[in-house]
């Protein structure tokens, strides 16, 4: 499916609940996200931010409620080929080189706007092409997992704490990449403890600590 900027896409959640070990993390959660929008999830540790992201990715089943992608249930639509997830686990093999890792991600989805070389340039990892990932620092690994977003064609980015172990300059860089994605018609759902500087973007904020 073509995800050109002109095309309208939306993700809508209706009456979502998540119960974990008899504890209600959130219930009756509604939101609607459209092109050019960012959804920022806030809240204390353990209030269900990551659980919500994992529900969006389909790793967890929600306890109630439903997701609509372009007004269709996510399970009936092409939602999963339109979204990318960067979570606590990098999803990167440390015994493979930077290039080998990115080629693998590319094989698993459609090619996006940037080539592998351009993406590495963007996240300031150019020249590390043939280094094994185990020789990279934590922040560099994080940049690599974000480079994966650039080489694949996904309209929704789901990011769990994207700024972990990244330096100040890196944070600016990621913010500019996020800005570019949103300006191009994409959507982002993220959790962060860091104050976002996405002035021009349309940011919705949900505080999960008060959702029950």
């Amino acid at each position: 499916m073509d995800s050109s900027p002109q095309q309208k896409i939306s993700l809508e959640a209706k009456g979502l609940s998540c119960i974990r070990d008899d504890r209600v993390l959130f219930e009756g959660l509604n939101f609607k996200l459209q092109n050019h929008q960012v959804l920022l999830l806030e809240g204390k540790n353990g209030c269900g931010k990551t659980s919500l992201l994992r529900i969006i990715c389909g790793f967890r089943e929600q306890d109630a409620g439903e997701f609509l992608w372009c007004d269709q249930l996510t399970s009936d639509s092409d939602f999963y080929s339109q979204m990318a997830y960067v979570g606590h686990l990098d999803g990167i093999k440390k015994e493979l080189t930077v290039i080998e890792n990115l080629k693998m991600s590319l094989a698993l989805s459609q090619a996006g706007k940037y080539s592998i070389d351009q993406a590495l340039e963007k996240v300031h990892l150019a020249g590390y092409d043939d280094s094994l990932v185990q020789s990279l620092s934590a922040g560099q690994k994080r940049r690599l997992s974000l480079a994966r977003l650039l080489i694949t064609k996904k309209s929704l980015w789901v990011l769990d704490e994207p700024f972990t172990s990244i330096d100040k300059q890196g944070i600016k860089l990621i913010e500019s990449l996020m800005h570019e994605h949103v300006a191009g018609g994409g959507m982002i759902i993220l959790t962060s403890h860091h104050d976002l500087l996405l002035h021009e973007a349309d940011v919705q904020t949900i505080n999960l600590s008060i959702c029950h």
Binding site: R54, C57, G58, F59, R60, E61, D78, Y80, S81, M83, A84, Y85, G87, H88, L89, D90, G91, I92, K93, K94, E95, L96, E100, K103, M104, S105, L106, A107, L108, S109, Q110, A111
Partner: protein
């Protein structure tokens, strides 16, 4: 990218990984060689007895060697989040899981094919049974990887799944063991083994078709 590309990309990736973790990957083959070579030492100088036991010894060792390697099938992908990314891929997980199983067989099953004939001669297995031994290994070691994949995908989320894994998988391995070692034994006595080989072929095709589906479903459960 197309599905075939993804399929071969997964196989290639797993083979590169296996090559970079040579020591870990060579473990099952060494284990196989070790058990088989220890038998003559334990039993003593009784060539007749060894010859009679050879098919069973080789097959039981092969089975244990494959079982030893099963945990590595999904473990590292589960731990570093690669499995999550595969789940989110636009390609069906069943195909990607099948690719991983193929790679697992290439790395653990295939080397057994090269070592087993040497060990068979070492145990005094009659020459006429060597062809059948190879044929049973070709047909049945993939089955061990395939059936094993269901067990591993169910237990990969557990911290100590090793014991449960063997309880789950061993009963399913028993038919393979019975038919394969029986075929080798009969071939050694110069008897026809068509029936056993046919049954192994049918088990092989059944597990190729049926194993990746539940394995993929179980992986989705393990991830959540």
């Amino acid at each position: 990218m197309s599905l075939t590309n993804a399929f071969f990309a997964v196989i290639r990736r797993d083979l590169i990984l296996a090559f970079r973790r040579r020591a870990e990957v060579a473990n099952p083959v060494f284990f196989f060689i070790l058990i088989v070579t220890l038998f003559p030492l334990g039993i003593g100088a009784q060539p007749k007895l060894l010859q009679a036991m050879a098919p069973g010894v080789i097959w039981v060792s092969a089975l244990l060697a494959v079982m030893l390697s099963l945990d590595s099938l999904f473990r590292s992908d589960f731990d570093d989040g690669s499995l999550e990314q595969m789940l989110l891929s636009s390609h069906p997980l069943t195909v990607l899981v099948f690719a991983k199983i193929v790679a697992h067989w290439l790395v653990t099953g295939l080397p057994l094919l090269f070592v087993a004939p040497l060990l068979a001669i070492f145990l005094g297995l009659p020459e006429q049974a060597l062809g059948t031994l190879l044929l049973t290994l070709v047909l049945a070691t993939p089955v061990l990887s395939l059936i094993g994949s269901i067990g591993v995908s169910l237990t990969v989320g557990l911290r100590r799944g090793g014991m449960i894994l063997s309880l789950l998988v061993l009963p399913l391995y028993v038919p393979v063991l019975i038919f394969a070692s029986n075929a080798v034994e009969m071939a050694g006595n110069g008897l026809a083994v068509d029936a056993q080989i046919n049954i192994l072929i049918s088990i092989f095709f059944m597990s190729v078709v049926l194993a990746p589906l539940p394995a993929a479903a179980a992986l989705k459960m393990s991830i959540s």
